[in-house]
């Protein structure tokens, strides 16, 4: 490997630890030089040191239990699957038992540990694809409910979260009903692909007969390729995504922007509305657009992620000094998404999106895009006005929202509770 090549590689991400030789070194570099470029001549750890680091990462655990569910404020793991399920439980009691089993199995998997041995004549208790001892690998399973779960089937209509409706069709959408909505959504995230694959397989086995797949999509987060540990990874339009997210470390901000509270049924307090939009990006078309036009559509410099006219990704775009859009066009994506005014401050959403790539369409064009995920306290106050503003952005020619849905992630489980138990209390 040439020197430059290796250097570029070493400034890469901590998020793909264990994914290949050298990745472990990147983590070390980033943690010891959190805000600077890695020196060119960092020694690559020995194979045994790399092995130990990858094992340490596999052993990392995200607590399943808590006031709120995991997988919402949790910093994004590298891999994900979103699985929407439809419910075939014959009555409310069986639905309750099903959701309890789902929650408990998810809790077991997030904790990891040895797989119980059954009689050898019986099918094994676990598919075993992670081996006899399931490593937690920062697994989170976030369970959410769609509006359709609150229809007449289970007598839950009166308990529907106040703003939970079927996701409306926005003017730019071309929603495929077979890839939209659903009674239950599972958001499964971990750092390794096989952990996610294993989790989906085990969870479906647990609730077979009551919950059946409606649609599923796999996502990945691009690694943090720098130049510093604080720079956000890129989406498949090559622009950095997630830059102006609210602070997950600020409980007051999370209370205001994420967690459902007053006005909601008591069981739902501490939950959150989860918006999932599968947005196809017409990447070949995008790649044929001039860089200048791309940057004006987004409002940022592609390479650095800085707002136009700036030098650093994390710098304030100062719209107040650019009221006519001479620096950042008034219809640029970042400006419409978050105008940073006092009025729109309460409209901010917590984004937790993933990239996807899943084959190609009938015209030979790659089917790539974004699994846009937003958590918010009130879609009517937050997501809907943001999305409505974005309907007039020039970028709409290059994207087509094709699926997803509105869901409500109930509060977390504490003690002997399970996720969703308060709904049946």
């Amino acid at each position: 490997m040439s020197r430059i090549g290796r250097r570029a590689f070493l400034t890469g991400s901590a998020a793909v630890l264990g994914a290949g030789a050298g990745a472990a070194a990147a983590a070390e570099v980033n943690s010891s030089h959190p805000a600077s470029v890695a020196p060119a001549d960092v020694a690559v750890p020995s194979p045994s040191a790399q092995w130990q680091m990858s094992q340490a990462q596999l052993a990392e655990r995200e607590p399943f239990k808590g006031v709120h569910q995991a997988g919402i404020l949790t910093s994004r793991q590298a891999q994900s699957t979103f699985a929407a399920l439809d419910c075939f439980a014959p009555d409310r009691d069986i639905l309750s038992v099903t959701l309890q089993a789902l929650s408990q199995r998810a809790q077991q998997l997030a904790a990891g540990g040895p797989v119980p041995l059954l009689e050898v004549d019986a099918p094994p208790a676990d598919s075993g694809i992670l081996g006899p001892d399931n490593a937690p690998d920062s697994l989170t399973v976030t369970i959410a409910f769609g509006a359709s779960l609150f229809d007449g089937r289970y007598g839950l209509a009166a308990r529907r979260p106040r703003e939970l409706v079927q996701m409306p069709t926005f003017a730019i959408d071309d929603l495929d009903p077979a890839r939209s909505h659903g009674d239950v959504l599972l958001q499964i995230c971990a750092n390794q692909r096989d952990t996610v694959v294993h989790t989906l397989r085990e969870l479906l086995r647990t609730v077979r007969g009551s919950l059946q797949l409606r649609w599923v999509i796999d996502g990945f987060q691009s690694p943090r390729r720098g130049p510093t540990a604080r720079n956000n990874p890129r989406n498949l339009f090559a622009f950095r995504d997630g830059t102006s997210n609210p602070l997950t470390t600020d409980p007051a901000q999370m209370q205001r922007l994420v967690w459902a509270g007053s006005g909601e049924p008591a069981w739902a307090v501490g939950g959150t509305y989860q918006v999932v939009r599968v947005i196809r990006m017409h990447v070949e078309f995008w790649d044929r657009v001039g860089l200048n036009e791309q940057q004006n559509m987004i409002g940022r410099v592609r390479d650095t992620g800085a707002p136009l006219g700036g030098t650093s990704e994390l710098e304030d775009p100062r719209y107040d000094l650019d009221p006519q859009g001479k620096r950042i066009p008034l219809d640029a994506h970042i400006r419409l998404a978050n105008p940073r005014t006092a009025v729109t401050s309460d409209q901010r959403i917590l984004r937790r999106s993933y990239n996807y790539s899943r084959g190609f369409d009938a015209a030979g064009q790659l089917d790539q895009g974004l699994i846009f995920v937003a958590f918010n306290r009130s879609p009517q106050r937050q997501f809907v006005p943001v999305q409505t503003r974005l309907l007039s952005e020039p970028m709409i020619d290059y994207i087509t929202p094709v699926g997803g849905g509105y869901f409500f992630a109930p509060p977390g489980a504490a003690g002997d509770d399970w996720v969703g138990s308060s709904l049946f209390a």
Binding site: T11, D174, L175, P227, T243, S244, H282, E315, A363, G364
Partner: protein
């Protein structure tokens, strides 16, 4: 000198083979760092533009190479030299295009009449043929960059149900695709006569508006590229024609429209490369018709080989067309003002 010469040659070879065009953005940097000079390999590519950028972490050098006399033609060259071109250069192309568009709408009258007659006679087969002729003729207009009442009419004529609340059941779902939906999903043809009458009236109204439509040079240059982008995104994918699957027919019309727009722009820049690619694409489409008894196949009737061949020719034409808008700029992009110094980081 480049230490990555072999890599560059490979890239050039791939670009020639894949694009049949003349431009390549090559990200270089190995060995050239610090020298600040770009040295193109002898004989082959002539740089149209070269600039050097030093990102804070990795030195990189970007060189845009033009392939003078490349495998299929010469680069886009304006008689005025490099862009920007005078905006007045576009007056005649736009006028020619609008006259062409009016002719296309005039030519829709015949198929629309046949469609209405066939519908009222409950002759589904004839009605489908009439619909196809009317639809193809409408797509001969190319991508429509209309504003105001003309845009509303265009949506009524060619709008899809995707973004409408209620989808196909929405009362705002009208025009060509409303009739397509009815015809190919078994609705009684004579139940669609009302939609056909409304469609004819809307086409007449659009035609009456055309003389007052204005198109900016930027929009017109972009149109040259985007007619076929739309064909790939909306027609060959089946997205806009889910019932009839007449995406190849639509694409053939889009190619004709693109060729018309390119023909009007010929006095402005050298379009040899683009013309060659479009002619090749047209030949591929003709061969598809020949292979299907003289009629263009639907998307779903294409064999895998045919589908791939069409996608290849279309993709290649699009890569060439993507160079048209930047060659037709009428203004230089303004320099972006700098954020005043007081800027602070907003996220820790």
């Amino acid at each position: 000198m480049f230490t990555s010469l072999g890599w560059l040659r490979l890239a050039v070879g791939v670009a020639c083979a894949a694009l049949g065009a003349f431009a390549l953005v090559a990200a270089l940097g190995l060995g050239a760092r610090g020298s600040g000079a770009s040295t193109a390999p002898a004989a082959a590519p002539v740089p149209l533009a070269a600039y050097v950028e030093f990102a804070p972490h990795v030195a990189s050098q970007l060189v845009i190479l033009g392939f003078q006399g490349g495998v299929r033609g010469a680069p886009l060259v304006s008689p005025h030299g490099d862009p920007p071109l005078p905006a007045s250069d576009f007056a005649r192309p736009v006028a020619e295009y609008l006259a062409y568009a009016e002719t296309q709408l005039k030519l829709m009258a015949g198929p629309l009449r046949s469609l209405e007659v066939a519908l009222s006679e409950n002759d589904r087969n004839q009605a489908e043929r009439g619909w196809e002729a009317a639809y193809a003729r409408f797509l001969h207009l190319g991508a429509v960059y209309l504003e105001g009442p003309a845009a509303v009419l265009n949506e009524r004529i060619d709008g899809s149900p995707g973004g409408l609340s209620g989808g196909t059941a929405s009362p705002r779902f009208t025009g060509l695709h409303r009739i397509e939906y009815g015809l190919w999903t078994g609705a009684p043809p004579d139940s669609l006569v009302g939609w056909a009458r409304q469609l004819s009236a809307d086409v007449g109204r659009l035609r009456a508006l055309l003389p007052r439509v204005s198109i900016s040079p930027l929009d017109y240059a972009t149109r040259a590229h985007e007619i076929l982008e739309d064909a790939v995104r909306d027609l060959l994918s089946g997205a806009d024609v889910p019932w009839s699957q007449q995406g190849v027919l639509g694409t053939a019309a889009a190619v004709a429209a693109t060729r018309e727009v390119i023909a009007t722009l010929r006095p402005l820049i050298n379009m040899t490369v683009v013309g060659t690619e479009l002619a090749h694409l047209n030949a591929v489409i003709d061969s598809l018709a020949a292979a299907h008894g003289g009629t263009l196949p639907t998307n779903t009737e294409l064999s895998q080989d045919q589908s791939e061949a069409l996608d290849a020719a279309l993709g290649q034409a699009l890569e060439a067309l993507a160079l048209v808008p930047p060659s037709l700029e009428t203004t230089r992009p303004p320099t972006t003002p700098t954020i005043p110094a007081r800027a602070v980081e907003i996220d820790p």
